[in-house]
Every structure is written in C-alpha cells, then in structure tokens.
Symmetry: C2
Subunit: 418 residues, 2 copies
Amino acid sequence: MAFSEFRPLDEKTLVDYVKAVPALSSKLGGNLDDLTIKEVGDGNLNFVYIVIGSSGSLVIKQALPYIRCIGESWPMTKERAYFEAVTLKEHGRWCPNNVPEVFHFDRTMSLIAMRYLEPPHIILRKGLIAGVEYPLLAEHISDYMANTLFYTSLIYRSTTEHKKAVAEFCGNVELCRLTEQVVFSDPYKVSEYNHWTSPYLDEDAEAVRNDDGLKVEIAELKSKFCERSQALIHGDLHTGSVMVTHDSTQVIDPEFAFYGPMGFDIGAFLGNLILAYFAQDGHAVGENDRKNYKEWILKTIEDTWNLFRKKFTALWDKHKDGSGEAYLPAIYNNPELQLLVQKKYFEDLLHDTVGFGSAKMIRRIVGVAHVEDLESIADPSKRATCEKRALYLAKMLLKERRKFHDISEIVSAVRNVQ
Amino acid sequence: MAFSEFRPLDEKTLVDYVKAVPALSSKLGGNLDDLTIKEVGDGNLNFVYIVIGSSGSLVIKQALPYIRCIGESWPMTKERAYFEAVTLKEHGRWCPNNVPEVFHFDRTMSLIAMRYLEPPHIILRKGLIAGVEYPLLAEHISDYMANTLFYTSLIYRSTTEHKKAVAEFCGNVELCRLTEQVVFSDPYKVSEYNHWTSPYLDEDAEAVRNDDGLKVEIAELKSKFCERSQALIHGDLHTGSVMVTHDSTQVIDPEFAFYGPMGFDIGAFLGNLILAYFAQDGHAVGENDRKNYKEWILKTIEDTWNLFRKKFTALWDKHKDGSGEAYLPAIYNNPELQLLVQKKYFEDLLHDTVGFGSAKMIRRIVGVAHVEDLESIADPSKRATCEKRALYLAKMLLKERRKFHDISEIVSAVRNVQ
Ligand SMILES: Nc1ncnc2c1ncn2[C@@H]1O[C@H](COP(=O)(O)OP(=O)(O)O)[C@@H](O)[C@H]1O
Ligand SMILES: Nc1ncnc2c1ncn2[C@@H]1O[C@H](COP(=O)(O)OP(=O)(O)O)[C@@H](O)[C@H]1O
Ligand SMILES: [Mg+2]
Ligand SMILES: [Mg+2]
Ligand SMILES: [Mg+2]
Ligand SMILES: [Mg+2]
Ligand SMILES: [Mg+2]
C-alpha cells in the first residue's frame, strides 16, 4: 500500500490518497482525476485541504511533526491528529449540529477527513473584524459548550468511564505543554517568542513581567489547567476555531483537547469576544463607528454565559437520576439543595472562566501568538490604545475575579474601560 | 511453574511459594522447612503473613479479588496490589526511612514481599488507644508527607512525567470508587452499610443526612478528590496505616494510592489524630485521666502541620531552579514573590486538609468503617459522648474551614469542644 507509513501530502499526492481510500472516493463521486484541491490552512499548526469532486466535497486535515507557522525547528507530535479526531467524534456525538462530521481518520498518516464547511461559512474572527452580527451565535455556542462539557463530566459520567478517558487524553501531553508555555508562562517572563506593539506597550509588557499579584493568580490557574480533569475540553476555543454563517455555527480544530477545567473553554471564547470588542475602535471608519456592533458583542457575551448556564442546568436536572457519580440522587434529593449546589457550581465556574479568559487575553497582547482582530489595525498607535484597554481589563479581572458574581458585572467592567 | 496463575495462599502453600522464589528464600536462609508463618491481617482488605526463617524475616501481603472483611459478596480487583507495590517503591524512593522496603512483587499472584516491621513496631492507632507518646511521630510523618507529596507534584516534576504517572494510576479506579462511596457518599444518605452508636446518635446521623450546607461542601471535596491530580497520595493515611516504635515510624498499606489532592493524605492523618483525641475521655481510668496525653496529641497535630510546611517549603526552595513546571524560576524570580506564592499555596492546602480531615472523621462515626479508638470504648453512652464531640467539630470545620488560617486555630477549635 502506498500509505502504509506516514508521509506529508501535497495537492498532488492527496489525489492518490483519496483514490486509495474508498470511504473518501465514494464521497466525491465520478471522475477522481477532476478533483479541485486547495490548501487553505490559515491556522498555525496544520495543513488543511478542501477537496471538491463531481458529486461531493470534503476537507482533509493533516498534522506534520512540527508547528507549521514556526517550522521544523519547533517539533510537535503529529499524534495530535488522533486526539483531534477522537474529540471531534466525542463532541460531535453530544452536539452534532455544531461539530463537523468526521468521515475518516488515519492514525498513521495523522489525517482527518471531515465535512467541508462550505461557503458562506467563514472563520468567526473574520466576521467579527468585518463587523458582522451573528444572531444565533450565543444560542449555538452555548449549545456546544453545555453539551460537550456536561456529557463528559462526572455529573453525567461514572468514575470508571471518566478515569479511562482521562488516562487516554494524558497522551496529548505535548499540546498541553504548549498551552502551559504560551498561556501561563511566556507572557510573565522574558521570552524570545514574546512580542507586542512596541514601543507603545513596552512598559505594559514589562509591568506584566513584574506584577507579583498577577503571577500568584496565574500560578493558581496553571495548576488548575494541569491538575483538574473536569471535562473533555476543546482546549483552543478561540474565535478562530469557530466557523459561522448567519444560521450555522461549527466548532473545528480541537487538537488541544484533554480532560481539563471547563472554564478554560468558556473563558477562551468569551475572552476572545472581549478582544474583538476592544479591537472595534481600531476598525471604526467614518459613519461606521461600530458602536452598535460593540453592543452586540457585549450582548453576545452575556447571552452566551446565561444560555450556557441555563442549558447546562437543564441537562443536569434532566440527568439527575442517571449514572453520573458527582451528585448522587439519594444525597442531592431536594429542589432547594439542588439549587444551592448549582449556584455554587456556577459561581466557581464563572470565576474560572473569567480567570482563564483573562489569561488568554493577556497572552494575545504580550505573548507569542496575537489575534487578527488587533493585528489588522494598521495604525500602531491606534492598535496600542485598543490593546492597552484590553490588557488593563484582563489584569484587573484576573486579580479581582472572585469579586464578580454575575456575567452582567463582567460586561459592565468591560464597558467601563476607557 | 506452580504459580503461573493466581491462587490464594495459606500458611502451608506460602512455604512452596517462598521456596520457588529465590529472592525470598535467600532472605530467610537455612532450612526452609522450619519457617514460622503467621497470618496477622487485622486490616480490612487483605491477607498479611509474617514469615520468619533461620536468618531473616519478611512480610508477605496478598490481595484477593474481594474485600476480606465483607467477603466474596463485595468484589474488589486484586490489581490493587500492583498499585500498592508501585507506590511503596515510589514513596520509598523519596522517603526510605519511613516506608518498608519491597523485596519482591508478583503481579500474577497480587503478592508483595516487604520488610517485616519487627516488634516493638505496633500499629499507631493501638499506641494512641494505649496512651503511648511517640516523641518523633510528628517529625517522621511530616518527613514522609513532605517528601512523597513534593516529589510527585508538578513543583518538582515536568508535565510529561506527571501526565504519564497520572494516566497509570487512573487504573486504580476501583479503589478510588470505594473511597468515593464510603467517604463522600454513604454518610450523607441512607445506606445499608452505615451504622452508629444507636440510639444515642440516631438524631445526629439523621442530621448529617439532612444538612444541606454539609452536602454542598462534601460535593466540592468529592470533585477535588475525583478531578485534581496534585500528587501521588497514599490514599488511606489513617493511624492504622502507620506502624511505630519510640524511634521509628513506618507507613504501610498504600493500596488506595493515586494522583489526588495532597490534603486528602494530610487530612486523613490529622483527622484520625483528632478522633484519637476525642476518644481519650473514653479510655481515662482512675488516676490516668489522659489530660496530658490529650495535650500531646494536640501538640502532635500542630507540629505535624508546621513541620510538614517547613519541610515542603525547604524542598521547594531547594529545587526552585529544577525542572518542575508549576513555578518556573524565570517567573517566580524574587524572594518576596516566592513567599507570597507559598503563603497562598499552604493556605489553600490547609483548607483542603481540614475539609478532607473532617470528611474522614464524619465517615468514621456514621459510615461503614469505624475506628478502634472509639469502638473500643465499651460503655455506649460514654462512646456516644466522645463521638458527638468529634462529629460536632468535624461538621463545623467542614463548613467553616475557609475561616481558618493557621493550624493553631484548628487546635483551639478542637480544644474548645466540650
Ligand atoms: N471543515 C472545514 N471546512 C472548511 N474549512 C475548514 C475546515 N476545517 C478547517 N478549515 C479552514 O482551515 C483553516 C485551518 O484549520 P484549523 O483546523 O484551524 O487548523 P490549525 O490546527 O492549523 O489551526 C481554518 O481556519 C479554516 O479556514
Ligand atoms: N511490613 C509489615 N510488618 C509488620 N506487620 C505488618 C506489615 N504490613 C502489615 N502488617 C500487619 O498487617 C496488618 C494489615 O496490613 P495492611 O497492609 O494494613 O493490610 P490491609 O490492606 O488489609 O489493611 C497491619 O495492621 C499490621 O499489623
Ligand atoms: Mg486553528
Ligand atoms: Mg489547531
Ligand atoms: Mg490497612
Ligand atoms: Mg489496606
Ligand atoms: Mg523559566
């Protein structure tokens, strides 16, 4: 067989691969010598090909044993494709409407074939930069988060199922270490990878590296990230891992998945929305001051959390007599107690969410990988103004998060930054 | 080979086993037909044989596929012996003075051969009931806890080593589930296994089952137990898992070991000392009012925590430039910050310790397995008085633990219970 061992594909060899795999060729139909193949990987790590045939299409994603945007000098296990495929299937099982279907996985080739999210699907981040409203976004993403996180947690699962799954995902350690480095470490120390809008943010970057209060808090969050196996999290749920149309929301790219703290996913999403919010002033032109759009982002933040909480609670109530081992029905056996327990649960989860979300914002301003929302603001002084506001908020929230009890208070804090 | 598959041994077949294993026969020396073999398993789960030969001795512990004190009606994987052996070796590596040496492990037979802790070693719990002071106990047990917990945590280890070890110990899930049931669940619900000093504690047991505040807190602790892989904990560190003489302290029986929260071990030990303290009034006879002995127990509680903290801190400072990934030296790079971070670390750990310790006390009074300290008080009304005090304290501490900042405040709270 031509593909009995790993080899990186290109537009040409991909055709041979598709021909050799019936599950794929049958999807595309007709004359396989007439495929349209286009590499579109705008992400940081992998190669992504859109393959269009006479009667069907698909996307093929391949992991190479290094980080694409850096090159072979930064090796990274291609086994990440395995964890991505397992997670796409597991999350897809619990939330099929918001995760692309996996057609085929080849561990040897570190290759996933999945549904092509056809136009007008675009990466959410691009839509946010363009100022496009997605009226169903909060509804959809809260569905995704509530279902994937609830069903992979001990509220739904037995300890036996949980520990088995936790053990397997311990194997995705290289990707966890990458997050540890870029989110929890590099921004707080001198690192060759860090950069920021210089000279405007020179002092701000230095202040982050010298802020003892921040370092105490980031240590707590890092230990939660490393030690707390609360649910199968996506692990990289920023607005660049979501594809949208007016009616559809699809979560892609869970290669960083592992059993970690739920707040890391929810925080990633909300933190990136906050970055999008602060970037708007840099995108305002003439008439279009983006004021209404900023309000829509804030509303989406608030709705996302509130809908998440509502849906997660509904799942909890629905399955409260099931085989989940965290809250046994014989103990949590009256409605007031159920309310009390859930109140505490979401209070703690909001604090985690705000903490992780803030950490994600900080690292996007003074760490290695920035966001296009801010990078695309051409005027550096304008960009720096946006970044300073986001950084100010993130530092405050990271340190003071336990004082917040409701998402509306977070939104007010965002709004109050000038 | 006679032992190519599992079979339960007895005093007779044990001789054949020892003869067949050179590592064992060579330890015992001389005429192997003249061995003295005695089954001494007073524990709940396994069989333990003391084997004495002409020029040496050893202990052989075998796990059967059920819980000994209940019988074959409660099956329990014999693989627990594997996790016990791995942990004895790992903990022994970091604290050889306080862990018996493993001579031989046979996974097929679920059999561990280890150093015989010869007389005058006795189980610490028995010494506490007899009112014997062990002046080095706090010194030794704090050595054990500081070394085993520090060296298996992310303060010392890399994420890669950590996740690998976590994954392996996910395999000890049956023992974790047993703890979940008997510590975090059964006492808070009606269970056929629960019992208490009836009728004296009937209302108290019912109050535990109806205490919503307690149930909210026990849920948080249970989720920490199930989700937080902080270090390789012993998992059953009560005073019946420690053997002592005036000069020696040895920790045995880590079959419940897994990567869990450190406070579960420290709390188990301190909680059982508190039970021993409250039991003393039931053992006072005539002249010997046990007043001084109670003071020694309180001092041992305080010393154990303070010495643990001191030693753990010293290890942390010693290895702060090592390969541990929780606190990178480039970030935690000044003495004030190091102090700040450690202060928070031990504050959180004290709260965990008090929480888990209280949960362990509660389950020993109204759950399935009680402690000899209290059970050996023949007069049930006297026993009930001791138990009510312990239960009162444990409930208060479990709910109010976050208000305590120092072990001396805990000791005062113990002392103030009348
Ligand atoms: N199923 C899909 N359908 C359409 N486009 C996709 C699909 N998966 C990925 N893409 C495109 O490829 C880009 C990179 O994919 P991604 O999975 O994020 O890779 P990386 O891991 O390298 O970040 C996405 O930003 C998106 O534009
Ligand atoms: N290494 C040893 N040396 C001497 N006695 C031991 C040793 N190990 C166990 N024992 C004795 O056997 C008893 C039961 O051992 P333990 O390991 O606690 O078994 P279990 O898992 O059944 O509780 C202990 O209480 C102690 O009296
Ligand atoms: Mg991506
Ligand atoms: Mg990716
Ligand atoms: Mg024992
Ligand atoms: Mg035991
Ligand atoms: Mg460093």
